[in-house]
Assembly symmetry: C2
Homo-oligomer: 280 residues x 2
């Protein structure tokens, strides 16, 4: 795939990585970075993630053949709705948000004729923020989930898939609600747990943590407002995932209280089987 | 410090790392590896972790100036009790077990005159097993907790501290029960949580995990029987730590159910503050 102009809205870790990957792979004639914070845009430009810094988001999206929104999930739909009316027919809009159902529902059937939105979520990231932490290889070998609806233009879906593949991703399509239920377990619940665990550590015990505590809580360093937005958009599925976890914790508690070594070993062995299957 | 003979009982990841670190630093004239599995001993010898493989544990400990037991926590006390009677006066015995109170209680005041046991726990490790994963730098900059009792010979405590320091560790002393309460929160609870989380992942969602899930569950790849032993020796403190975590999860649940974004952001922000303070 080769684009004339690629616009990236939000040039933090994800948007910056899109830019670095796109420029390294010569995916677009020009890469525009759009956002409200001039200092961040300028850093992204200096780091080589974008060719041009555009403080006017709508104007930058209108110049795009394809625009990708890498902003917090609670901003994406309104930004797309604001920018789409000025876009040329054939423009494809996609995003990198961690939730999909609310965003897709807010946009489905509400864009001008010829302008398509295809929900996307690259399963890549970090607890860090900002274009300084962007990485041209962030998407290499990762999975991007696309969440078309029955109204999604097949040609736009195909272009969006080709875009993420050009950045190095494998692509899988799922219904938005199915994506959100799955990610509640694979991403949102881990974040909640890591935060709960970090939250119970008294300051005087910090020196007694080692790699186990650090690995298990690493994602808790993520931006609280970003994650509040994600949880807010996926409440029922996160609560359902939390209920499953609480049930499993109850089994650990029962085995511990009963001093049932066999039950404990079996719970630990089941977990090890799952974890070993994931690799590093 | 310079030892004549150092004996390592159990030459897996921890014992093997002790051997590699001791040999690289010329800490002992001779490093003996003792254990029940000849194949593991031979691998440790080939990897340069020990000078000599000794299938007779008691005989190897009797030859030592200092012996360190790097075996599962439920074996350490009985191995020490079996080996100590043949040791020369002045021999120092220590261990690397993740729990301390049960081990120390089983040994305190029960060893022959002149033979000392000083409980130790280097806060270093990995979910991996075996001497193949041993690392000469594993202890570099890490903390080792020593758990003397009022009966512990001060000279033996000093020698044990010098031993772990010579491997690269900082050393801190704590009462055995205090160690176990702290580690229940900083190590045993994270393992339990990681295992519970891995345990609720259905196989069909494995492809939808990314670094967040993988980091948060990494320790769940640890050996189930080793961890059952740790949990069994520290049940009350682990149950108490689990109760704290359940209370915190309840606060997350309440904030989610109420759609209280401010409460959620505050919980996440508290966790971020703690996690940021730990560094990588």
């Amino acid at each position: 795939m080769r684009l004339g102009t690629l616009t990236i809205v939000g040039v933090g870790l994800i948007g910056g990585s899109v830019g670095l990957a796109a420029r390294r792979r010569h995916l677009a004639g020009r890469v525009l970075g759009a956002g409200r914070q001039p200092a961040t845009l300028e850093r992204a430009r200096q780091l080589g993630a974008i060719d041009e810094a555009c403080p006017d988001v709508n104007a930058a999206v209108r110049r795009a053949d394809l625009a990708v929104f890498c902003t917090p999930v609670d901003l994406i739909a309104e930004q797309v709705l604001a920018a789409a009316p000025g876009c040329s027919p054939g423009t494809v809009l996609t995003d990198a948000g961690s939730t999909k159902a609310a965003i897709v529902a807010a946009l489905d059937g509400r864009l001008p004729d010829g302008v398509a939105f295809v929900g996307g979520h690259p399963l890549a990231g970090s607890e860090k923020r900002g274009p300084e932490h962007a990485d041209a290889d962030l998407f290499e070998g990762r999975l991007t989930v696309l969440t078309p609806t029955p109204r999604t233009d097949p040609a736009a879906l195909e272009r969006t898939a080709a875009f993420w593949q050009a950045l190095g991703c494998r692509v899988k399509t799922m219904a938005p609600e199915e994506h959100d239920r799955a990610l509640a377990l694979t991403s949102h619940l881990p974040h909640l747990l890591a935060s709960a665990l970090a939250g119970v550590l008294p300051p005087e015990l910090r020196e007694l943590t080692a790699t186990g505590f650090r690995d298990t809580t690493r994602v808790a360093a993520g931006d609280p407002s970003i994650w509040t937005g994600i949880f807010a958009q996926n409440r029922p599925a996160v609560l359902e995932a939390l209920a499953r976890l609480e049930e499993r914790l109850g089994r650990f508690r029962a085995a511990l209280e009963a001093g049932d070594a066999d039950a404990l070993t079996e719970l630990l062995a089941q977990a090890k089987t799952v974890r070993d299957a994931l690799g590093n």
